[in-house]
Symmetry: C4
Subunit: 249 residues, 4 copies
């Protein structure tokens, strides 16, 4: 009887509740990517203007993902990055049918993040919040290598500490925060350590970049390749076998 | 029988015990806001005097709320900030009848914090511990925008990680600490990142500020608007529905 | 039968096992205070020689107590500081009969810490690892006020997060680490933020100090008064009532 | 019946599954040591080139081991350092028959780490990622003393927080990360704080060092002696008695 009641209840609320839950996931990815893009962009911009040191900006990056994973990980999985969604799908823990919705939410979040940067810093500075390769301390080829390596480390830690497709709980929050801080610091002078295509694409569309989007491809192709390498390393540890397709609630 | 005994016991100690518990809550809000105001004021003052870097002051702000949430979150909820109490009430997890008592405890805490700052640094420096807008690196309008944005992020994290109306436990402590550190760093040159009306009001009453309270309104209206936006974003994720009015013990 | 066997077993091993357990507590207090004195002394010395920044030394202090609480808190309670042992006794969670043994272990630890500092840095620098008041940035009276305030904050956090008389577990480790870092930073230019009589006394006996122990009294009386204030504040929150005299294992 | 089925199942999959599990352990030690060697080498190199401050490099070292322990501790134990494997064996919690396999995996990891450093920074800078004694701020004898002391502290914390032979879970991750950060900071100007023979040996084979491997012995003998002292201190606390030889899964 109880089971039957429960089934009936599930039947009645199925469509409406599932839709609400799914909308909350997407809204969460939107809000998270918006805050991430804005704050990490502010860190980059202010360190380029020497308002803050590049070291504190790097640690700040790690703390930012930390303070976003705790409140939002349990709702959407706290991806905020298309290559994270992509590698979870490769690992067969995230349904590929959801990819367009997640990508769109993240992309819109990064666009609104670009607008917030413009609103907070003004149009004359906003381009400095977009990742670009400084030819004084690096080169396009070098930055490309670095984005691959940095994203490899970051996504490796994400995949190894995630619960199914969710970056959730203390362990993941602290490990991923630490990894983002470390990668931001050592990669700062090489490629500004984006490791997230939308985080760079969104602001570059709204505010341009200080090299006129010349190095934009580095921040799209590099993270993609790095995340595939991370997928291979994690599969070497955990096996390539089929995972269940269930989503954590 | 046991149930009856328990009921009887509850009946006998109800008024006295509840009063003691409530007094402990208020005393805890007082102590917490006093330490928060003093230490965050000391950070601001010392970074303005270049005794410490502004970066270390920002991280220190985060560590301060962290070391206050752990010991005190379970007692009063560790608000220490009227806009936090206010948004918990909007979310219907905090009884509106308690607001005047919490506000008073926090306000008195910030006043005593102002006195401690004067005692520790002397009257000639104490005004530097009060937030004010530096017209060299920002403007009133700009600082106002920043206080809204920074408080939005901070209160968003608080509401999303709190247990009912209490900022309690590792997850909330670390997330809120990280958020306060990050907001303090990126907002430092814009508005000194107060995000807390009483934290600025109390010391400004006792010690004035280095702009003669000219920008005081920014630190009262800005956090209020930011916290309302955070309330809206959190309600978008969790729903606007009625919450139980119960208080965590 | 089982109960009887267990009782008998307890009877047989009582003296020997209890002695071994107690010796391990004392050895742990010795090792912990030795490492704490050496590392915090190294931080102070290196920041005075500008080998490291005073900000990184302050954060390092917090990380040091953190990495000592985790491995040792469950054995001895991780006091490493006579005013911590003293206030636990005031709160009636630590047996006063144990005080001389704990104090002796901590004192010998601080003496060996002073010897390690001498061995690692050489006799010509070792005095710089001892706390003393810089008359350029502070005064004896000012430093005295600061030691009281800083120790108040630190011991307040310790008493509120401890489990009976033990600083144990994540919550206490992180909160106490954060508090020590914050106090070290804001008190650095005022009193060098010792907050621990033996930490200053031990090295001053072995290596002297750069003001010929002129300000030594500040680092003994200040922490004592601050810890009594913390005891009063915590008793205001938790009540002054009798606590059980049991020790956590 | 169930028990029998289970036994039979164990019998059937014994060799294959145990081999796969063991290979995953070794692969994990390889990946972890590779990332550790590369990132800690990058920190050292970039701080020597003044691209980052030596303080941020030190904290970064701590964050790096932190983000490696969380994802990998449960698989291989997260040693990544031959003296850690060695002291676990002395404590009789790690089977001595596994030592050659662990050492080989770690050594190959450090060699590949040396190659990655060369690839990311180029051959002209890569030697700067290898630990060596600066005769301007230290001496071989002094660096030797420091490597002993620093490794003593680090391995003491590792042995005291590990679960059998595994550095696993929040407590160990945070404590070991904090210890590595602290040791890196105070030992930076004395010996560059390697505390790990392979971390220095691998890159020195691939990229040489800036003193032509003159001080290489310091980084092999020092950590070995320091870890033996840590073994003695831990045995003083926990006893020298026989431990079970079981491995955590």
């Amino acid at each position: 009887r109880e089971q039957q009641d429960e089934d009936e209840e599930n039947f009645h609320i199925d469509f409406k509740r599932a839709t609400v839950e799914f909308f909350r996931r997407l809204f969460t990815e939107f809000i998270g990517t918006m805050i991430l893009t804005t704050v990490l962009g502010a860190n980059l911009l202010e360190s380029r203007l020497k308002l803050i040191t590049s070291e504190s900006a790097a640690f700040n990056n790690g703390l930012t993902i930390l303070f976003l994973i705790y409140p939002l990980g349990a709702i959407s999985g706290a991806h905020f990055n298309p290559v994270v969604t992509f590698t979870f799908t490769l690992r067969r823990v995230f349904p590929w049918q959801w990819i367009p919705f997640y990508f769109l939410s993240q992309f819109v979040g990064s666009i609104v993040g670009g607008l917030l940067i413009r609103g907070l810093f003004g149009g004359q500075y906003a381009a400095l919040a977009t990742s670009s390769v400084s030819l004084l301390t690096s080169s396009l080829a070098n930055a490309f290598k670095w984005e691959i390596f940095l994203t490899f480390c970051l996504v490796f830690v994400i995949l190894q500490t995630a619960t199914k497709a969710s970056v959730i709980g203390s362990q993941a929050a602290i490990a991923v925060g630490a990894a983002l801080a470390v990668e931001s610091l050592i990669g700062g002078s090489k490629s500004t350590a984006s490791m997230n295509p939308f985080r760079t694409l969104g602001p570059s569309i709204i505010n341009n970049s200080n090299d006129n989007r010349h190095s934009l491809w580095v921040y799209i192709v590099g993270p993609l390749l790095g995340s595939i390498l991370a997928y291979l390393a994690v599969s070497g540890i955990q096996g390539f076998g089929t995972k269940t397709n269930e989503i954590t609630s």
